[in-house]
Amino acid sequence: MLIPHPLLGLRDAQEFTYLGDASLLNRPDPATPGAEAAFCDYVFLRDNPAGVHRELWFHEQGDRSWLVVTRNTLTHEILSAELASDVKAGAAQ
């Protein structure tokens, strides 16, 4: 599998380590009511879809950036890859 790194181009997936669902970027706010339950969901529950999945990959043997990769879990086709820092900054705006 080759991951299209936004800065470095196509890179061997073996250079990366995998974390999981990109919803992990959206950490709940510990100060809100119900935060404990929200954290349980955040830490333990996953959509685990058969199909398009947005997920976090770390370019460990590379530029050490976190990517949000959109990939089909049935075919392994990669639809896009973005820098997680850009995704996070975009969401904050």
Binding site: L7, L8, G9, R11, D12, Q14, E15, E60, Q61, G62, D63, R64, S65, L83, S85
Partner: protein
């Protein structure tokens, strides 16, 4: 006092070098390294007058050099300065940036081809999953080589620096020399 003998990353008393036909491999024991990272929003400095390079690029100026390692991050090199406190010198040149000494964490091997770029690229294609065409002179990248993480800096058509983890120096030398030897046959 105990007599301490300085040794290189490979445990030798002098830097190792070996030739394999037109390819030569040598340990660059004198290379000093320090990393430089920008704080959020900070503008890039020009330490020692080096224009810090863009994504996946490397620059040199005499014995000094810099190569890109990540967004807002570079490795700064100084040939022959391994015994000095290079990080302190760099910090003075890059006020406010995060500077960390790296010399003791890495080992640098210089590969030189006497038979043009083709031989060097043949060696690369045996060792790393990087298209040599995307790693021309002045380019750098970090990748995996036999499960080890390495920086590759293409110093020229016929010169490649392979900078890897110091504690794995023996394995890295083994991987490089083995591949170079096989090309010879």
């Amino acid at each position: 006092m105990t007599d301490l003998l300085p040794v290189t990353a490979l445990g030798d008393s002098a830097p190792r070098s070996e030739t394999f036909g037109p390819l030569s491999l040598s340990e660059n024991a004198g290379l000093a390294l320090a990393s430089l990272a920008l704080r959020r929003g900070q503008a890039a400095p020009a330490p020692f007058g080096l224009a810090l390079p863009d994504v996946a690029r490397a620059v040199t100026s005499g014995a000094l050099g810099a190569f890109w390692t990540g967004r807002g991050q570079w490795m700064i090199e100084a040939g022959g300065k391994a015994e000095s406190d290079f990080a302190a010198a760099l910090e003075a040149e890059a006020p406010g940036c995060s500077v960390t000494e790296q010399t003791d964490g890495f080992v640098a091997f210089e590969v030189v081809s006497e038979a043009g770029a083709a031989r060097l690229e043949a060696l690369m294609s045996k060792l790393v999953n990087i298209d040599p065409k995307t790693l021309g002179p002045g380019c750098c990248t970090r990748t995996g080589l036999e499960h080890m993480t390495v920086f590759l800096v293409r110093r020229s058509e016929t010169r490649l620096a392979v900078i890897g983890m110091r504690s794995l120096a023996g394995s890295l030398w083994h991987a490089l020399s083995q591949a170079a030897r096989r090309l010879e046959n």
